[in-house]
């Protein structure tokens, strides 16, 4: 890829200190994100998948500087956001937005949705007059498929899918380049999920948006992503163009994840040999030595317990962190 990526994440680390349990010992540290690197090009979507606690949400929030990184860099249009002060960050904030999983929790229950959508316009001084703001809100509501007539209603009067549309309108109000979508359809019914996914794709085409799409449903991620990164315990274990990962996953964790996807074709369900992983994800406080996946890995060798595998490019554009791949 010749062009410069819009977003370049390098060696991103985010650790959380736990409350001290014992005065004589240092506090536990949760290594939520432990050295993550990837690029996203303008107008493209990177899908970030993994199970709960793998660090995908923390990665999204750290990129947006909603949490400050412990170390590493986030280059956005040529600027390292991690180096900026909170004050200097403000001018970059409207270039980057986030859409949350639960739009109900992210909307003020006492604010009409018209006001909620207008709020970012006011904060970033994008609309000079009230009339201008009102027109922009109307335009945004229409764009995401909401009837502008309802702008005086409150969030509780809307269904889950409609609330997610409000969340999208709000994020788009400031005309961002880059949007983090954190499980945007996980709490929605399937028929509504499809509506929202179609909307997100249309908006991306129309506005040349760049997405980081965080999700655990591999069916949805396959559908919307150009490239996919699989995370396990704070690290990326595989990164490749979307279809390549599905056709030939190289990391044993990716293979297990994909074999567990409940495809709706019963013939496929019967044919597929499921790789059932033993146990559950280890703790991010004391991640296993060597390869973090080795305690659950069906093919692990002695080497995997000691040496931690580097993410290496095995085919053009296909990266994997496994000694045996």
């Amino acid at each position: 890829m010749e062009e410069q990526p819009l977003l370049s994440v390098r060696d991103l680390v985010k650790h959380f200190r736990m409350p001290r349990r014992n005065l004589l010992r240092p506090p536990d540290v949760v290594r939520a994100v432990d050295g993550v690197s990837f690029d996203i090009w303008r107008g493209k979507t990177l899908g970030l998948v993994g199970e709960s606690g793998c660090g995908k949400t923390t990665t999204g929030r750290t990129i947006l500087q909603l949490m400050r990184a412990t170390s590493g860099s986030v280059q956005f249009g040529g600027t390292d956001l991690c180096q900026l002060s909170d004050k200097d960050l403000r001018q970059y904030r409207n270039g980057m937005q986030i859409i949350f999983q639960d739009p109900y929790a992210s909307l003020d229950p006492r604010m009409t949705i018209g006001k909620a959508i207008a709020e970012p316009l006011m904060i970033h001084e994008l609309s000079q007059t009230r009339q201008e703001a009102r027109e922009r809100v109307q335009e945004l509501m229409e764009r995401v498929g909401l009837n502008p007539y309802f702008n005086n209603r409150y969030p509780h009067e809307f269904s889950g899918g409609q609330r997610q549309r409000i969340g999208i309108a709000r994020a788009l109000a400031v005309d961002p380049d880059f949007v983090v979508l954190d499980e945007p359809v996980s709490s929605l019914d399937v028929s509504i999920q499809a509506q929202i996914l179609n909307l997100l794709q249309d908006l991306q085409d129309e506005m040349e948006l760049t997405y980081l799409f965080i999700a655990h449903d591999l069916r949805v991620v396959r559908h919307i992503s150009d490239r996919i990164a699989v995370m396990y315990l704070g690290l990326i274990v595989e990164l490749a163009p979307g279809l390549e990962i599905y056709d030939g996953p190289l990391h044993p964790y990716t293979q297990a994840l994909l074999s567990a996807v409940p495809w709706t074709d019963p013939r496929l369900a019967r044919k597929h040999q499921r790789i059932i992983l033993e146990g559950e994800v280890s703790s991010a406080v004391n991640p296993p030595s060597g390869c973090r996946f080795h305690p659950r890995c069906p093919i692990a060798e002695t080497r995997c317990q000691v040496e931690s595998p580097e993410l290496r490019e095995v085919r053009p554009g296909h990266w994997v962190a496994c000694h045996l791949a």
């Binding site: 028929s191 499809a194 559908h223 150009d226 495809w263 709706t264 019963p266």
Partner: protein
């Protein structure tokens, strides 16, 4: 209605697609309603469904379609303002809707067990999990405390709880999500029920753990020759775990049949929409998903005619006025006036 608790189920109305056996559970014209300030919510609105010995039936639909309320009606566990106002649920020669509270207590957890979506709210936080498993067996199987303990340990081991002896005296909050679901499964299977109701048992779990739990339930049910009703919103789970599937919309059944027939050759536009909404391995990334427009209907004021017509791309005047009934198409049954034309469209 006016049938007593011991009325015998009638002979099956349909054969063909359904296994040629007497159903273990027969739901007839079930109406479950809730009285609210806004009016009467018709959660289940005339559902008839047979469950045959040894089969796993998937009950699919989106939130609010009545699938959970169907299960709670069977269990006699409807929340305060809910009531099964009409219909019958026949199980082992008894109409469960006519059974007294005492009778239901004996059936619940004994002959019929349920696995809920959220183990944290379904299990008692102040009782060790060992006690919770043993308690059910002491009540339903009349085991002594020691016998129940021994069997509980066996069960915990069987459902894959590591070091069951050490875990026996733990409380539910000390377990991870997947392990909690295993504990609930151990409780559900403890009294060797004939019928298992599983209400979205894996929705709260990660994909790899979901696969573990689905396999565990399938394996245990097979070992015990148990009949199961699997409630889910995910057609993928139906594809991998069920023999037959019933699709619900607005409190009624719109399509029912063997999994392969319904999933590979769906007849009802709603079933087609549900399947089209989930990205498949064949679909090309970036393609538009088939999506059902609009929202599910308000259960207080349902539309006339077919309940799906406001969202159906094929609806015409007849659909708005006349309610379709289930008709046989191949191996499955669907309630839609437009099934035939739809197939012609697909054949072209």
């Amino acid at each position: 209605m006016g049938m007593d608790c011991s009325s015998q189920p009638e002979t099956p109305l349909t054969t063909g697609s359904e296994p040629d056996r007497i159903p273990l559970l027969r739901i007839q014209e079930l109406h479950t309603q809730f009285e609210t300030k806004q009016g009467t919510v018709r959660a289940v609105d005339g559902l008839s469904l047979d469950l045959y010995e040894g089969e796993v039936l998937g009950l699919v639909g989106e939130s609010g379609c009545g699938k959970t309320m169907t299960a709670l009606s069977i269990m006699g566990l409807l929340p305060g303002n809910g009531r099964a106002v009409a219909g019958a649920i026949n199980f082992e020669g008894k109409n469960l809707l006519q059974c007294s509270g005492e009778e239901m207590k004996k059936i619940r957890g004994g002959k019929i067990a349920m696995v809920f979506q959220e183990p944290m709210t379904a299990l008692t936080p102040t009782m060790t999990i060992g006690r919770q498993i043993s308690e059910a067996m002491e009540i339903h199987l009349a085991l002594s405390r020691e016998e129940a303990r021994a069997r509980a340990l066996e069960l915990l081991e069987h459902v894959g709880i590591p070091s069951p002896r050490a875990r026996f005296d733990n409380y539910i909050h000390q377990f991870s999500g997947g392990m909690r679901q295993r504990v609930m499964i151990a409780i559900a299977f403890s009294c060797e029920p004939r019928l298992l109701l599983a209400d979205e048992p894996t929705t709260a779990l990660d994909v790899t753990v979901q696969a573990q739990i689905l396999d565990l339930i399938k394996q245990l049910a097979q070992e015990a020759g148990m009949t199961a009703l699997f409630i889910t919103h995910d057609m993928g789970i139906v594809a991998g775990s069920c023999d037959r599937v019933a699709v619900m919309y607005a409190g009624r059944m719109v399509e029912v049949g063997p999994v392969d027939d319904v999933l590979l050759n769906p007849r009802h536009p709603y079933t087609q929409g549900l399947l089209g909404s989930v990205p498949s391995l064949e679909s090309k990334p970036g393609d538009r998903l088939y999506s059902i427009s609009g929202l599910p209907p308000d259960l207080v004021s349902l539309p006339t005619g077919c309940k799906f017509w406001p969202r159906c791309p094929l609806a015409d005047e007849r659909c708005k006025e006349e309610e379709p009934f289930l008709e046989q198409y191949g191996n499955s049954r669907a309630a839609c006036w437009k099934v035939m034309p739809l197939r012609e469209v697909l054949d072209e």
